[in-house]
């Protein structure tokens, strides 16, 4: 039995301790917004927040999250920064196939929470672990700058 909090809800899970958080989310809890892309923390499609920090859920065993808080894409509609990032993604028409975008958004939200006005270089550093095969990178960059602007306006 592993106890942890997911999107604010306490969960008691009967899963093997070595199960990556990704598969707990997807298979056990049927929260499918977090995507499988590589299984080796190489592509970022599975990015979630663990106590606010972006992690690759495909390579993080659920036991590591015991007693901690996981935040997923499903919580972003109720998160002030998450909403702005999602809006910015829409406004820049970022998504093509969209499969990687939940992971991109989770990385972007984590970036903006720690660094509300990132430079291009900050964005590259924070986002370089998130692959997009459709090649939406320039729009992701613009969307992050735009979200930072929204944050500024709101603040």
């Amino acid at each position: 039995m592993i106890s942890l909090t997911i999107n604010g809800t306490p969960q008691q899970l009967e899963v093997a301790a070595d199960t990556p958080i990704l598969w707990v989310l997807r298979d056990t809890l049927q929260m499918t917004g977090t995507r499988f892309g590589c299984g080796m923390a190489l592509c970022g499609a599975c990015t979630v927040h663990l106590d606010g920090n972006p992690i690759r859920s495909c390579a993080t065993p659920v036991s590591y999250a015991a007693g901690k808080h996981i935040t997923t894409i499903e919580a972003m509609e109720n998160d002030a920064v998450g909403q702005r990032v999602q809006d910015a993604w829409m406004d820049e028409a970022v998504a093509q196939c969209g499969y990687c975008q939940c992971g991109q958004i989770m990385s972007a939200v984590a970036l903006l929470k720690s660094n509300p006005k990132p430079t291009d270089k900050d964005i590259t550093n924070a986002m370089n672990g998130n692959i997009c095969r459709c090649g939406t990178y320039p729009r992701i960059r613009k969307a992050i700058h735009r979200a930072a602007l929204y944050t500024e306006v709101k603040a």
């Binding site: 093997a16 070595d18 199960t19 990556p20 598969w23 997807r26 298979d27 056990t28 049927q30 929260m31 499918t32 917004g33 977090t34 995507r35 499988f36 892309g37 590589c38 299984g39 080796m40 190489l42 592509c43 997923t72 894409i73 499903e74 972003m76 509609e77 999602q86 809006d87 993604w89 829409m90 406004d91 820049e92 028409a93 998504a95 093509q96 196939c97 969209g98 499969y99 990687c100 975008q101 939940c102 958004i105 291009d120 964005i123 986002m127 370089n128 672990g129 998130n130 692959i131 997009c132 095969r133 459709c134 090649g135 939406t136 990178y137 320039p138 729009r139 992701i140 960059r141 735009r146």
Partner: protein, 789 residues
């Protein structure tokens, strides 16, 4: 049109089906009409082109595609696969615009595999808009006409007095109005008007088609210009449903250990440890596909479990000995040795596939001769969503879900494998997390069905890992292109000899001739447009040793790389400006019938309607170079220069100028990219821009880093640590797209693929201009590092 009183999508599906059954006569008649057109064509012995030449052709019946509920909500069916190109938005937009629907009241419903009903669904070859723009405009126009007729009936007035505005029909003399919802029931009882009575909207009347984001009506865009993307909100909130997001009750999870060598079979399996893994339900051996396996699964050992993680852990615990004897010489495949063998072969005369003038005479009498050989490696499509499918067999029926580019191929294949009538096979197409050609091959759907059958019909989801995807793709081919040219004293090109070698996709479907097919040669070889007195093109033998499949823009990648690099090399040799030299090679503006260049395929489009148009080549070259301030002006500094390339594919024209700096350490910095693109009329300009930006990113990867290699018959890349694809830091921030010939008097061209081929040669030409170092082998990888030059 069928009507319904509910907005529930599932109920709508049922109602829509009932509506179709009710109107089967009409629908059947229309389908027959489409067939009849074909029959007439056959009688005339005229060849079929475009959508007419595709299996199940096209359908333009509004009863098939449109449903209006009495509350006014409009549901439009999208029958093509959505993989990032935005077709679920763009085709629906075409119907909505022509019928006069308000975008905010439009919903989309994804079609199951059913080409007899919808027309061709094979989403491949950049042809969705090319083949369905006109039929679906007619579909929308027919719906509009029926709504106007319904209003005329209601008011007892001439239909000519009734006009559709937005989501309503107006009686023009009196100003009375009836909404689409109010007219739906009456309209649905009317016969579908005959095609000759349809009035298509003019360009000025379009509200959504061909509009830039800032020209769209209020309420149809997000703040800064997302043009009505159907799935946009679902994507950013995690609600969009891709293949692996389909969850069935009682579902099992499977992964498969497939033979590492193409065609190998199982010698022995020790599954005792795997069966000890908690959650593993069963381990089962699957038959090996015999070579020329087409879309058949490769076979291997499946681990079936009650979760994905248990299945993956179980597979890790398997000990398998493979038997390579069924794989022929594939087990000896070594991509380094194969490159050398192809290069040796390219020195010998090959099989002539196009000739004009006397190449030997041109070469023998040359003032100067120049030759170069180019290499492009295998690649895997590697869509971010690895292949995945779910199948459920019950009561003599199979139902499958998956991210399929070619749903009908999945359906037909399932019917054949399970010996079922097609009526007992349902294939639901989910969103695709990228396709790039990989998901046009439904082997993963067949695997799911085979395993469901083994598990007595329980639903089974087969999940491919990234390693599976890279080891067992249908790989982009591998190519050597050797080019030789002769110059006269005026430094004009008098002769052009191109010897092209690549394993053929045909090897996937039958005996391997070792030579490229007409289709592959039509991707940049035979349709090469240059005005040169003596031209000879040849193929050399190159046998396939892995599954060869199609990858976004296919054989255009190596051919454009070789030809566009070679032209830049020749310009340099001749001491001429590259752009001027390229325009000179194109010669006078003319429309070339590809058949006159021994090119019979032409992407299966009419060679008269879609000729090779050198004026369109010229226009994109001039636009891209002008926008980039060619030859560079003040932007250009030491180790920084512009590079140019142009290519025509999938009936569209793309020219690219790259502004590139190479650091002393060999780091490549792409400051800016200008892409001039001519696909004729642009239905969804914003989406075309994003397709070209994506093509640019993928092309940069092709140039810089992306390759699959093989040793001992096995693919040597496993995951994204050694299969390199572009990341944020490697893709240019500034990509400028310039539309050329966005006019209606040229037929529509493709948008998904044609942006890819010119990227790598433009980048390599810029690197040469900046450094003097010529790249002839892709990817560039470490070639520019100091000491490696």
């Amino acid at each position: 049109m069928s009507t319904s009183t509910t907005t529930d999508p599932l109920l709508l599906a049922n109602v829509s089906r009932r509506g179709l059954l009710k109107g089967l006569g009409a629908a059947g008649a229309l389908v027959l009409a489409a067939r009849w057109d074909l029959a007439v064509a056959a009688e005339d012995e005229a060849p079929k082109y475009g959508a007419d030449a595709m299996p199940h052709g096209w359908v333009d019946n509004p009863n098939v595609f449109i449903s209006i509920a009495v509350d006014g909500s409009v549901t439009i069916i999208n029958h093509r696969a959505e993989m990032g190109q935005g077709i679920r938005t763009s085709l629906v937009m075409v119907i909505a615009d022509e019928m006069g629907a308000d975008w905010s009241s439009v919903k989309v419903m994804q079609a199951d595999a059913d080409e007899a009903r919808y027309g061709n669904q094979n989403t491949d070859g950049s042809r969705s808009m090319r083949h369905f723009f006109e039929p679906l405009r007619r579909c929308g126009a027919a719906a509009r006409t029926m709504l106007e007729q319904a209003a005329a009936q209601h008011w007892q007035v001439p239909v000519s007095d009734c006009t559709t505005t937005v989501h309503q029909v107006i009686h023009t003399p009196s100003g009375r109005a009836l909404s689409f919802g109010e007219l739906a029931t009456t309209a649905s009882e009317l016969p579908v008007p005959e095609r000759q009575f349809l009035r298509l909207k003019t360009r000025e009347q379009w509200r959504y088609i061909n509009k830039q984001p800032d020209q769209l009506p209020p309420g149809t865009t997000e703040k800064a210009g997302q043009p009505m993307a159907i799935d946009g909100r679902d994507i950013v909130s995690g609600k969009a449903i891709y293949g692996a997001d389909v969850i069935l009750d009682n579902m099992l999870f499977a992964v498969i250990a497939r033979p590492p060598v193409y065609g190998a079979s199982i010698q022995s399996v020790d599954d005792s440890a795997a069966l000890q893994v908690p959650g593993v339900v069963k381990v089962v051996q699957l038959p090996t596909a015999s070579i020329a396996s087409a879309f058949s699964p490769l076979g291997g050992v499946a681990v079936i479990a009650n979760s994905t993680w248990a299945a993956l852990s179980g597979r890790k615990a398997l000990t398998i000995t493979w038997d390579n004897s069924s794989a022929g010489d594939n087990a000896a495949y070594d991509s380094v040795a194969f490159k050398a063998a192809m290069e040796a072969e390219s020195l010998k005369p090959g099989k002539v596939v196009r000739t004009q003038g006397d190449i030997q005479q041109a070469l023998n009498s040359a003032d100067q001769r120049f030759e170069a050989s180019y290499y492009s490696p295998h690649m895997a499509q590697a869509p971010m969503e690895p292949p995945v499918a779910i199948a459920h067999i019950k009561d003599g029926r199979v139902e499958a879900w998956g991210p399929v580019q070619n749903p009908q191929a999945a359906r037909d294949g399932l019917a054949k494998r399970l010996s079922l009538e097609a009526d007992n096979v349902t294939v639901h197409a989910t969103l695709l997390g990228g396709g790039f050609g990989r998901k046009a091959k439904p082997d993963f759907v067949f695997e799911a069905a085979d395993l469901s059958q083994i598990m007595d019909g329980r639903p089974v989801r087969v999940q491919w890992s990234r390693e599976d995807d890279l080891h067992h793709s249908f790989f982009h081919t591998v190519s050597v292109d050797r080019l030789e040219a002769s110059f006269n004293k005026e430094s004009e090109v008098t002769g052009w000899l191109h010897r092209s070698l690549s394993p053929s996709i045909k090897s996937l479907f039958g005996p391997d001739s070792g030579h490229m097919s007409d289709i592959e040669l039509a991707m940049g070889v035979r349709n090469m447009p240059f005005d040169i007195p003596a031209i000879q093109q040849e193929t050399g033998e190159a046998m396939a040793h892995v599954r060869i499949g199609w990858f976004r823009s296919v054989y255009n990648i190596p051919h454009a790389f070789a030809i566009q690099s070679f032209v830049a090399e020749l310009a340099h040799k001749a001491g001429k400006d590259h752009r001027d030299f390229l325009l000179e090679l194109l010669g006078p503006d003319r429309q070339i019938d590809p058949r006159n260049q021994n090119e019979p395929w032409n992407y299966r489009e009419d060679p008269i309607r879609y000729p090779i148009d050198t004026a369109r080549y010229r226009d994109v070259i001039k636009t891209a170079t002008r926008k980039a301030n060619w030859p560079g002006g003040t932007r250009i500094a030491a180790r920084r220069a512009l590079g140019l390339a142009v290519h025509h594919s999938f009936m569209s024209y793309a020219a690219v100028v790259m502004d590139v700096e190479v650091s002393e350490q060999g780091e490549v910095i792409i400051h800016r990219v200008d892409i001039a693109f001519d696909c004729g009329p642009q239905v969804n300009p914003e989406r075309i821009r994003s397709q070209l930006e994506g093509a640019c990113a993928m092309g940069v990867g092709i140039a810089m880093m992306t390759q699959i290699t093989a040793g001992d018959g096995k693919v040597q890349q496993d995951n994204f640590h050694n299969y390199l694809v572009p990341r944020h830091s490697q893709v240019p921030k500034e990509i400028h797209i310039h539309a050329v010939n966005d006019r209606l008097d040229v037929p529509i061209g493709g948008a998904g693929e044609p942006g890819v081929p010119p990227i790598a040669p433009a980048l390599c030409n810029a690197i040469f201009a900046a450094t003097g170092q010529r790249i002839r082998t892709l990817p560039i990888a470490g070639q520019l590092r100091t000491g490696n030059s």
